[in-house]
């Protein structure tokens, strides 16, 4: 479960997109111990820069960028935020905590997709 600090940080992060009217679909935060990262949806991570365990797990669902179910593999805000943590720590995928995911335009909360549930929980 994410800390209140991370939940507050992701709210601020989402509101920043809203104020700039930079409307990406989702933002989400990830944390491990005292390290917290917020990131957005999109294909932001080059294949070579994915944490190896994360890449391996994602590839069991499909190629990076392919649409599977309700998402593009490896393009969720959760994946981008978590990868920012993993590149600092060699930990198991489920050792991080994820914040709620927000849609910046409306500040609605979005459910985690099936792939993220499989990878992070």
């Amino acid at each position: 479960m994410a800390s209140i600090i991370l939940e507050n940080e992701i709210l601020e992060y989402a509101l920043g997109f809203q104020k700039r009217r930079d409307f990406i679909s989702m933002v989400c935060g990830a944390e491990y111990q005292e390290t917290r990262k917020c990131n957005r949806s999109g294909r932001l991570v080059a294949d070579a820069n994915f944490y190896e365990k994360l890449m391996t797990k994602l590839l069991t669902h499909g190629k990076i960028g392919d649409k599977v179910g309700n998402t593009s593999v490896g393009c969720c805000a959760e994946v981008n935020a978590a990868n920012d943590i993993y590149i600092q720590y060699n930990i198991a995928l489920n050792e991080i905590a994820l914040s709620k995911a927000y849609r910046p335009k409306s500040m609605q909360i979005k459910e985690k997709c099936a792939i993220c549930k499989s990878v992070f929980y």
Binding site: Q18, R21, F23, I24, S25, M26, R40, S41, G42, R43, G65, K67, N70, T71, S72, C75, Y102, R103, P104, K105, S106, M107, Q108, I109, K110, E111
Partner: protein
């Protein structure tokens, strides 16, 4: 320009349409777009920036009877849709943001009267012209719908109108 699936899923596009009567804005919420919208040459992000420059001259009517369990703050939710309506657009949102394939949309906010727009058609572009005190910026290209969009607050399937 056309929009890849990854771009459609990663962005909450604002798309400007014309149904023959009213100016329309739809927010895609990272959903899959019908081919007519995904294969357009329009740069959605550039187009919406043109609308930001419009004068805020319309009183609006908001849909406050929304059955969405994921709204954290109704006032915040309505802000951007109202922002479009005070500029003369009927503003619609995707109803189910957790299902990218679902094409159900709903009117969220509308001006209290239709903006009086004269449309100029070019080869495959539609541009609005207006001889009013606060004219529309003619650098936006509106995508023509197949049918008149609902003016009420009931949910509808976008595919039936595009």
């Amino acid at each position: 320009m056309s929009y890849s699936i990854e771009q459609q899923l990663s962005n909450d596009f604002d798309i400007l349409l014309w149904d023959g009567i009213k100016l329309i804005h739809i927010a895609t919420a990272g959903g899959i777009l019908p081919p007519k919208l995904s294969e357009t040459e329009n740069d959605f992000k550039q187009q919406i920036r043109e609308v930001y420059r419009y004068r805020r001259v319309f009183s609006i009517i908001q849909n406050t009877n929304l059955e969405r369990g994921n709204i954290t703050d109704l006032k915040n939710y309505l802000t951007f849709f109202s922002y479009m309506s005070i500029r003369g657009f009927y503003s619609y949102d995707k109803v189910n943001i957790d299902d990218v394939e679902d094409q159900t949309y709903q009117l969220i906010s509308r001006p209290n009267y239709n903006r009086n727009v004269h449309i100029v058609k070019f080869s495959n572009e539609i541009q609005p012209l207006e001889r009013l005190r606060y004219p529309l910026n003619t650098r936006i290209n509106l995508i023509q719908t197949n049918r008149e969009f609902p003016g009420d607050f009931n949910e509808f399937n976008l595919i039936d109108f595009i």
